[in-house]
Symmetry: C2
Subunit: 329 residues, 2 copies
C-alpha cells in the first residue's frame, strides 16, 4: 500500500470530485421537491442531515477512473443518494432508532407513520427520476439492489436465535445492507465504460462495501462514543451479532460462552456485561479475525482496480479502501 | 342505464375474463416468490388474503374493450396487484389496522417491522418485473401513481384539523388513494390501443375510482357490520372526515355542529355520539350530496366509454360503474 495511504481523510478522497459533490445537494433537492407543506418540511430536515455523500463520491471517482463520459452522472448520483436516504428512513423506523448522523430521526421527530410514508415517497421519486433518464439499465441495477436490501433487512429481523448466526449469513446480510449499494454506485458511474472496466468497478464496490461494513461493526467494539457518536457496544446491547462475536464464539470456554448467553438473555443489558463480552471477544481473537476479513476484502477491492488505467481518480479509489478499513468513525 | 344494470354482482363483471383472473394468482406467486423462509411464509399469508382482483379485472376488460392485443397483459395485471398489495401492507402499518379482508394484517400477525420491510419487498419486486418487460411506458405510469399515493397518504396524515378538511382536499385524497391506481390499471390494459381509446380508458378509470371511493365512504355511514365486515361509523370513530360529513357541516345548526366537535374532541368516541352524528349527517343531506357526487363521476365514467366500440367487455365496464355505486359492501 502506498505510504500516503495511512491516515487518509475523507476530504482527500473527495477533492478530485469536490465541485460535483457540491452540485449533488441541488440535484437532490430538485428530485425530492414537493408542494405539500409537510413533505417539504420533512425534506428540509433530511437535506440538513445530509451525510458524507460517500456513494455519490464513489460514483464520480469510478466514472472518471473508467474514462466513461456520461452526462447523466449528476442525476444518477442524486438518485443513489435518494435511494440511500429512503432505506435509512425505513431502517430507522424498523429499528425504532432515535438518532441518525447526530440528528433526530423522522420517527423520533415526527412519527412512525411519517417515516413509512416518507420512505415510500423517496423511493418512488427515485424511480420516477430513473424512468426519466430513459434507459432501463440503471433501473435494472437499482431495482435489483433495493430488492436485495429488503431481503437483507428481513434476514436480520428473522435472526432471532442470534448466537447461531453464521459467518455466511453475516456475509449475506452486509452484502445486502451495504455492499450492494456501494457496488451499484460504482457500476452506475461506469455504465458507459468498456464492459471490463464496468465489471471491475462493480467488483471493487462490492469488496469495498464488505470491508467498510465489517470495519463499521468492528468500530462498535473498539471505539467509544466520543469518536463514533454512538456508545460503544451498542450492537451487543441491542443483541446484534456481528463478525467479531461470530468469530469469537467457537473459541470461548464454556463458562465464557455462558456469559455471552446471559447478556443475550437480558432484555436491556447494562454496561458491565457488555464491557465483559467485548473483552472476551477481543481476548479470543474475534476482533483480529474480523480485521483480517476486512483486509482480505480490501485486497480484493485493490486488485479490481488493476483493470483501470492509472489516474488521480484511481488513486482516490485506492485511498478510499484505506479509509474504509482504517477510519475510526 | 340498461335495465340489467341494477343488482350487478361482481361475478357478472368477472365472467368475460374469468380464465385470465384465475391465471393472475400464479403470476402473482411467481413475481413475489422468495427463497428466504420468513418472506415465503408472509407471501403465503398475502396470497391467501387475495382480494377481489378488481384492478386486474378492470385491466383485462379495458384491454379487450379497446381491442389492444398485448401479450404482456397477465404480467401487468399481476404487477398492479402486487403494487396494490404493497400499498395495503404499508397502509395497515401506518394505520395500525388489525384486520384486512377479514384476516389479520401483517402488523397484527407479525410486527410493524415485518410490514415495513415486506411492503418495500413487494414494491421492489413489482419494479424488477416492470423493468423485465423492457418498456419504459408502464414504468412511467406506475411510478407516477405510486408517488401520488404516498403524497395522498401524507395529506391524510397531515389533516390534523379534521373538521376544516375541504371537499377539494377530499377529492385530491381519494384520487391519490384509489382513482389513480384504477386509472393506471385501465390505461395499462390499453397501452397498445389507439391513443384516443387509451385516453378514454384512463379517464374512465379515474372517474370510476372516484365514484368507487365516495361510495366506500358512504357505506361507512349507511351499512352495518353484518354487510361490510366493518362496524358502521368506523371512519367517525377514527376521526376520518369524508364527503358526507364535509357536505353536512356547513348545513348544521350551531348546536349540532358542537355535537360533531364534541365527537372529534373525544379520544375514543362511543357508539351513541357516532350514531347521533350519522343521523345529523343524514338529516342535513350529507349522504344525499355524496351520492350525487358519486353519480356524477359515474356519468363521467360512462361517457368515457363512448369512445370504445360496442362489445361484451364494454358492457362489463359499464356494469362495473353500476357495481361501484350500488354495491352494499
Amino acid at each position: 500500500m502506498p505510504p500516503q495511504a495511512a491516515g487518509v481523510r475523507l476530504a482527500d478522497l473527495q477533492r478530485p470530485v469536490a465541485p460535483l459533490l457540491d452540485a449533488v445537494a441541488d440535484e437532490l433537492r430538485r428530485i425530492i421537491a414537493a408542494d405539500f407543506p409537510l413533505i417539504a418540511e420533512v425534506n428540509g430536515h433530511l437535506l440538513r442531515m445530509k451525510g458524507k455523500l460517500f456513494r455519490p463520491m464513489l460514483m464520480f471517482l469510478s466514472n472518471r477512473a473508467a474514462l466513461a463520459d456520461d452526462v447523466r452522472l449528476l442525476r444518477f448520483a442524486a438518485i443513489i443518494e435518494v435511494t440511500h436516504l429512503a432505506t435509512l428512513v425505513h431502517d430507522d423506523s424498523v429499528d425504532h432508532s432515535a438518532l441518525r448522523r447526530g440528528m433526530p430521526t423522522l420517527n423520533a421527530l415526527y412519527s412512525h407513520q411519517v417515516s413509512v410514508i416518507m420512505g415510500d415517497y423517496l423511493y418512488s421519486r427515485a424511480i420516477i427520476e430513473l424512468v426519466a433518464v430513459d434507459d432501463l439499465e440503471p433501473l435494472r441495477i437499482l431495482s435489483r439492489v433495493t430488492n436485495e436490501m429488503t431481503v437483507g433487512e428481513m434476514r436480520q429481523l428473522a435472526a432471532y436465535d442470534a448466537l447461531r448466526f453464521t459467518e455466511e449469513e453475516y456475509g449475506f446480510l452486509i452484502r445486502a445492507k451495504t455492499a450492494s449499494l456501494f457496488s451499484a454506485a460504482c457500476e452506475l458511474g461506469a455504465l458507459r465504460a468498456a464492459p471490463a472496466r464496468r465489471a471491475a468497478l462493480r467488483a471493487y464496490g462490492d469488496a469495498l462495501g464488505m470491508a467498510f461494513q465489517i470495519t463499521d461493526d468492528l468500530l462498535d467494539y473498539t471505539e467509544g462514543e466520543a469518536v463514533t457518536g454512538k456508545p460503544s457496544g451498542l450492537d451487543l446491547k441491542e443483541h446484534k451479532v456481528t463478525l467479531p462475536l461470530i468469530a469469537a464464539l467457537p473459541r470461548l470456554a464454556p463458562a465464557e460462552r455462558r456469559e455471552v448467553e446471559a447478556l443475550f438473555a437480558e432484555q436491556a443489558p447494562g454496561s458491565a456485561p457488555v464491557a465483559r463480552v467485548i473483552e472476551l471477544v477481543a481476548r479470543s481473537g474475534g476482533l483480529e479475525y474480523a480485521r483480517q476479513r476486512a483486509e482480505a476484502y480490501a485486497a480484493t477491492a485493490e486488485a479490481a482496480l488493476e483493470e483501470l488505467p492509472p489516474s488521480l481518480e484511481r488513486d482516490a479509489l485506492r485511498d478510499a479502501i484505506t479509509y474504509a478499513v482504517e477510519r475510526r468513525s
